[in-house]
Subunit: 124 residues, 2 copies
DNA sequence: ACCCAAAGTTTACACTTGTAAACTCAAACG
DNA sequence: CGTTTGAGTTTACAAGTGTAAACTTTGGGT
């Protein structure tokens, strides 16, 4: 069993940026993320940790290093979604959606339609 | 700013049990959860932490202590769901559902219907 | 040729989480 | 009554996270 390193909340923010800007330099990353109130050091640490988790790779052809995500946004999302679903909703998509629906303002009929569609998704 | 103590993954398992069995005694909790491979001590620690996080209350009227959840499953779920949505899907329900739909086997038309329903939910 | 700022590396430190042993105290058993 | 046992409390300890300072090296400017 490998370790299955997870991406932490703060690290996600960095990943989001890298997904939008693959091959960014640190300067770029710093510029963009310092708005979050993070210091230089913090950002460097986050990037370094992502590299050591093999979520980001370093391109060191040129004088400057460029950082590139190794995992796609989609695969990360799916993984997170799955673990979230299991933890909070026993893996049941329909329960999740029911909850979302009840939080917003769908009426009875709409909710029913929604659920029947979800059912078609097969394994909830 | 209050601390916003969060319930960890392991603690969540304990909460699940308490939601099903409010006012359970430790012995009961232990019996039920030792199946997860946790030692006695571990379970006691988890319960204690939940108490200190004010997620669980102690009823000490009788000789034995009984533990009771202070937060409902629904409110915990909603809170988790919201933070998950923000973290992973920028708070967009429709993006989440799109992703779930694409993972299963909805066809074009079904997916479209699903999305239009989700749109009716207002704020994505 | 020399200094500085920025890139990259090392070290730090408190808090949370997973996991659990050790200790204390009272009730139950024999 | 003394001993075992389980409930509750204290202490432990490594890994992960948030957050960042300090140190080192090096290309660019003067």
């Amino acid at each position: 069993m490998k370790k299955e390193k997870t991406i932490s909340e703060s690290e996600w923010v960095v990943m989001e940026y890298l997904w939008e800007n693959p091959l960014a330099t640190i300067t770029e990353i710093r510029k963009a993320l310092s708005a979050n109130g993070w210091s230089d050091s913090t950002i460097k640490t986050l990037v370094r940790r992502l590299v050591s988790k093999k979520a980001v790779a370093i391109n060191d052809e040129e004088p400057v290093f460029r950082y590139k995500p190794l995992l796609s946004k989609n695969e990360c999302r799916l993984k997170e979604t799955k673990s979230f679903l299991n933890r909070v909703y026993n893996g049941s998509v329909s329960m999740l959606v029911t909850n979302l629906a009840s939080e917003s303002n769908l009426n009875e009929k709409e909710t029913a339609e929604l659920l029947s569609l979800i059912e078609k998704m097969g394994k909830d």
